[in-house]
Symmetry: C2
DNA sequence: TTTAATGCATCAAGAATCTATGTATTTTTT
DNA sequence: AAAAAATACATAGATTCTTGATGCATTAAA
C-alpha cells in the first residue's frame, strides 16, 4: 500500500474545508497548506490538485478570481453557496467514515470473535 | 463524493486485519464481516472483493485453502508470513493516516489561520 | 415453488491519482 | 552576476481501484 492511495476520495473534501476556513486560496497555497497541516505526510501533486480544482469549478462548488501579479497569473478559489453545502455534507460523511474505519482497525478490535 | 470512494486504498488492509484476527476466512464471509463491523455502512461489492483477494494471493500475502462443500467450493484464505508483515505495516500506516486526516477535518480545526 | 441468500467469478466502464512534462516568473544562494 | 530553487499555472498518458452488470450454481426460507 502506498500512502498516497489513502488520500483517494478525500482531496476535494479537504480543499472545500480549507476554502471554508480561509475564505480564498490559490492552488499552490492549498498544496502547501495541506502539506503543513499534515506535517509533511500528505503531499498533493500538481497532477492531482489542478484537475481536482477544475472539477470543483466545473461542478459549481468553487469559483475562481484571477489576479494578475505582474506577468504571472494567480487563481484564487472561493466557495460558492453550492460548495458550502457540499462541504458540510462531505465533511459529515468523511468524519463518519473515519470513525467507522478507525474502530475497525483499532489494535484491540475483535468485535465478533 | 460517494461514500464508496473513501474505501479506496483501505480494502486490502481491512482484509489482512480480518485474517489476522480470525485465522481464516472465505470471501463471502469477509464481505459480511466488514458489513457487520461497520454497522452496514461499508458494503464491499464482489467486483471489489474478489479482485482484491486474488491480488493479495498473487502477491503472496495470503494463500487459499480450497474446501469442497458437496458440489460447492469454498476458498478459505489464510495469512502468509509475508502477509502478516504487510498487515502490520499497512495497519500502522493506515492508523497514522486516519489520525492525520481526522485532525485536519475536525470541526474546530483552524491550525494556521 | 419461487424467492432470497450463499458463494464463486469476470468484464467493461468510470473515477481519481500519479508521473512526467511543459512554460514562465521570482527569489535565494553561490 | 549566474545558477539554483521556489513559485505558479497546466495537461496527457498510465495506473489503480471500485462499481455495475452479469453469470453460474447450491441451499434455505417463504
Amino acid at each position: 500500500m502506498k500512502h498516497s492511495e489513502l488520500i483517494k476520495g478525500t482531496l476535494s473534501t479537504l480543499i472545500l474545508k480549507l476554502l471554508e476556513d480561509k475564505g480564498k486560496m490559490y492552488g499552490y497555497e492549498i498544496a502547501q497548506e495541506i502539506k503543513e497541516q499534515s506535517s509533511g505526510k500528505i503531499q498533493i501533486k500538481e497532477g492531482s490538485l489542478y484537475p481536482a480544482l477544475h472539477k470543483l469549478e466545473a461542478d459549481g462548488h468553487v469559483w475562481a478570481e484571477e489576479v494578475f501579479l505582474g506577468k504571472r497569473i494567480r487563481r484564487y478559489y472561493h466557495l460558492t453557496q453550492k460548495g458550502k453545502t457540499q462541504s458540510t455534507a462531505d465533511l459529515n460523511e468523511l468524519r463518519q467514515f473515519l470513525s467507522t474505519i478507525s474502530s475497525m482497525v483499532s489494535p484491540q478490535n475483535m468485535l465478533t470473535s
